[in-house]
Symmetry: C2
Subunit: 213 residues, 2 copies
Amino acid sequence: MRRTRDDIREQLLGAALVEFGAKGFDGASTRSIAQRVNAHQPQINYHFASKEALWAAAVDHLFALLGDELADLALPGGPEDPARLASAFAEAVRRFVRFAAAHPELNQIMVHEATEDSDRLRWMVDRHVRPMYEAIRAVWQRLRAAGIGAPIEPAMAHYVIVGAASLPFVNAPEARLLTGAEPTDRAWVESYADGLVATLLPGASGRPVRFSS
Amino acid sequence: MRRTRDDIREQLLGAALVEFGAKGFDGASTRSIAQRVNAHQPQINYHFASKEALWAAAVDHLFALLGDELADLALPGGPEDPARLASAFAEAVRRFVRFAAAHPELNQIMVHEATEDSDRLRWMVDRHVRPMYEAIRAVWQRLRAAGIGAPIEPAMAHYVIVGAASLPFVNAPEARLLTGAEPTDRAWVESYADGLVATLLPGASGRPVRFSS
DNA sequence: GCCTTATATTATCATCCGATAACATGAGGA
DNA sequence: TCCTCATGTTATCGGATGATAATATAAGGC
């Protein structure tokens, strides 16, 4: 009995993302990933070279999806109306929150890997994380120059934003137990995004707040 | 050649925390934990019943340390001067940030476990996380009632606060690569705590900000 | 100084893992 | 029609892991 599928690569990638996100690289097993899509474990070594290569392909795929989601943002580059800059930034945060909810695997994998230095971490940081980091830093710097946004260094603002935006979805199983709510529900996600934007940019939905220092 | 130590239990606990924080439960190996303190792997099964029991003892130990750190906060219980409530809350956030920097293992373990439902997760949530969650919820509710704090539901505020406060320390290896700074440096930690407090309570260090909704 | 008991050390087992080899099968071209 | 080659399937290997049994050794009571 032989089963052939032409989308087996994509199916394995999707299963790998879920498994790596939930269990981390070490906790995930290639046998269990294959089983998720009714495939055999050696098919992973056939379609990808190794467990590591599967992981890298899955991460590449996921960051590409994130890139698509944020591609047409066009955060204004030159000196601009602060209000327009703030609303563009708010939109970026909202999209990032939505993506974190729809694809928790990305931030789960980030957090599983970033707890220890490793080749995988360095690869992911150099290839995917640094561009995002630099973009957030640049926008935050301009928000602060415009007197919007709390007095916090751009590098630190990055961690406030990413940490806050991703935790309820990274820890969705915990959030379900703790709050009784389903953090991936559309309404929950939008409400969380609203709250986060209001926290980061208290002046954006009303009169602007100017920080003294 | 036989080696005897009366603090072997504590040494194993400390090594286990580092290992579980860095690699997660599955990625950690009892051999490597024992090796960190020049002990033999079966000593773990002797002094603790199993790998799981070691993990639980380590988590208990760590949450006890956090409890000590936050014990004397005495967040005012009755109706109070909003400014005093805000400053007590700010102090709680600062302490939590300092603890997250000094003991990244706690939030690392949380995040490793919370990506998937499991008995370990449920045990940790019921035993340790829920009390903290309820405390943050209650304080945030009163901050909002006092017109301080962004318009975000208390349950969601919990994730904003914990996510933001812990990420640069949970992901310290990533933060070192990304920012070039050492996130556990005293100055960095204090600056991060300042920035987070300023973000959460924009009115706390100057004229208060009142949110319309 | 012996004896008991707690703990350290060594040896070993069953299980699981990632990888690879060996084999089977089916689709497409000549 | 047959041959080739890509891919599915099965079997198996070496290595690591958690647990436990077996043994060794030191400390403390008498």
